[in-house]
Amino acid sequence: MAEKDFKTRLDKLMTEKEAVATFLHDGDSFTLGGALASRRCFSVAREMIRQKKRDLTFVDTAAGVETTMMVAGGCISKLRLGYFLMRTAGVKIDDTILRAMRDGVPNPLEVEDFTQYQLAMGFMAASMDIPYMVTKSGLGADYLKYNKTIKMANDPFENKPIIMVPAISPDVGFFCVQRADRRGNAQVFGDIWADDVKSRACKHVVIITEELVSTEVIQKYPANTLIPSYCVDAVVEVPFNCHPMSCYGCYGGYFADYTSFIQFVLAFGTYEGALRWLDEWVYGTEDQFEYCEKVGWRNLMRLVKMERSINRLPE
């Protein structure tokens, strides 16, 4: 189907397996909604690994533990990022990326550094279909030495140095949201990160919703509809899709699930440990539902209780 066709359908519901198979192909560039610990598509990252996607370029303002997982899973050949999570809670967690960069294990890895705002501007340019955006972020620093994307020039109005970031349009973007309807109207509560511009920058958009709702429910809080249906190619409903990270108003992550966090940190200390972890938690679970089974639904409900004790979604 052409870019337009998926977007014009009235019912875009499909399984996560189908969405990843349909919209993510080896060699593609992709981005994920949210970032680090909030609305982060861990279930999609696991699915990519299960489907053994290869030679992907991941472009995002900030990348966290899910990137460590995807790099160890052999999916990623290039990272274009504003942030690589190397240490968290004061603990060094990531040799995975360094191992790939230096030793090519599991595969060679190229990196390109931006500031986060430079990347947001690249997404913004693509979201408006203009060739570039200008910013003053990162002037004088060393990004231009190694970054083949951004340029520097004097602006034509004040003739002062300015950084020009060309449009960045990933082939597909996966966005975790709290609520969405079948047609793809997707609502975000809490922090938005750069999903406002990312959701328009991507050629294809897949919404991963915690809860599938009717359009009437969406209409109660129209200011929270960040992504209208005309941007959306597919809608997937899977529970706890951000675990082990959090989803504002739905369930806590990280500290709330320190158990998963410690298990991950200890495992990813070595490459063998990482592969064992992948075998147990990714290859070892058929899909997100089996994954939740393995974490334990009662444990997951504890994370719901923790989050709803501090943040609740308006009903």
Binding site: G34, L36, S38, G82, Y83, F84, M86, T88, A89, G90, D94, L98, M101, R102, V111, D113, T115, Q116, Y117, Q118, A120, M124, T135, K136, S137, G138, L139, G140, A141, D142, Y143, K145, Y146, P161, F189, G190, D191, I192, W193, A194, D195, V197, Y248, G252, G253, Y254, F255, A256, D257, Y258, T259, I262, Q263, V295, G296, R298, N299, L303, E307, I310
Partner: protein, 314 residues
């Protein structure tokens, strides 16, 4: 160092010293963009103790959040609680480039004498593509150092390899080559105003923009040479060396509430209360019980409860 001072110093971890000294850089009512860990804890202490009207901001899109606990990342759910405005990174960093962020807290791995910082990679014998050690990169720091009106660096001081003559990669632009080179580069922010560590506070000369040691803790008044030894270049020291007040009781109570799991003030993962709960619960033998989830939940929830119900500041 006499016995009494040594005694006093031993009550605090290096992170607590840096956090308390750093918090004092915030004036009440200021807009403070914070990151994770230490930089986040510092802003939260300031809001709780002496700057109740400070507006705490993170790059994820939380403007004027309450700071009920140290955030493990800019998008930690604690940021959403009783928060005045939920918006996007695009809007927060646009507002920062516009000049609305008074002060921003960022950590650093390498720093040079003009306050330029590297958090991207340590090349060692390798290079950018095959470095000896890959680091986190810009994060929010690249933008905060570029555009916040004042940028405050905060970290525990290392003996070597931190205050260096030459950075492997300049991730955060400070005063570049000194004097007015930052202005000429068209950077919008005012540049670094302070480097906060557990061994002292460094500031920058008005004219040359070169770093100098400005304040030390009481027990370090006679250790200036030792501190200079941790800096590769010939560190300038102000004649009028000030003394940093050790952490005050209110600041320490704030830390206790904000960091119940002592994640940010006890470096070793295995010695933290949260980790102890799991390890004794049998995690290393692969056990993952509901009780573990429950215990950790209680540990954190108790401190939120106090913060949410207590009319701030403490």
């Amino acid at each position: 160092m006499n016995q009494e001072l040594k005694e006093m110093k031993s009550q605090y971890t290096p992170e607590q010293l840096a956090a308390c000294a750093g918090a004092r850089e915030v004036r009440d009512g200021e807009v403070v963009i914070v990151g994770v860990g230490l930089s986040n804890l510092t802003g939260a202490i300031a809001k709780l103790v002496h700057a109740p009207n400070a507006i705490l901001v993170t790059e994820a899109g939380y403007i004027d959040f309450k700071g009920i606990a140290t955030m493990v990342s800019p998008d930690d759910p604690y940021g959403g609680t009783l928060c005045t405005c939920h918006t996007s990174l695009t809007q927060v960093f646009s507002d920062q480039q516009r000049g609305f962020m008074d002060v921003g807290y960022v950590s650093f791995v390498q720093i040079d004498k003009y306050g330029n910082v590297n958090t991207t990679a340590l090349f060692g014998s390798g290079d950018y593509n095959k470095p000896e050690l890959r680091l986190q990169g810009s994060g929010g720091g690249g933008d905060i150092s570029s555009s916040a009106n004042r940028c405050v660096y905060i970290n525990v001081m290392r003996d070597t390899g931190q205050f260096v003559n030459k950075l492997d990669f300049m991730t955060f632009p400070g005063f570049l080559d000194g004097h007015d080179s930052r202005q000429n580069a068209n950077l919008s922010g005012g540049g670094p105003s302070a480097v906060i560590t557990d061994r002292g506070v460094f500031r920058f000369e008005e004219e040359s923009k070169e770093m100098y040691l400005s304040e030390v803790f009481p027990w370090d008044e006679d250790n200036v040479e030792e501190i200079k030894g941790m800096v590769e270049w010939n560190l300038k020291v102000t004649e009028d060396l000030q003394v940093i007040d050790p952490p005050r009781p209110k600041e320490m109570e704030a830390i206790r509430l904000l960091d119940p799991g002592e994640t940010w003030t006890i470096p070793n993962l295995m010695e933290r209360p949260t980790s102890k709960i799991l390890l004794f619960g049998g995690l290393l033998e692969g056990k993952r019980t509901f009780e573990m989830y429950d215990k950790i939940g209680e540990l954190y929830e108790s401190s939120w409860r106090i913060m949410l119900n207590k009319r701030l500041p403490i």
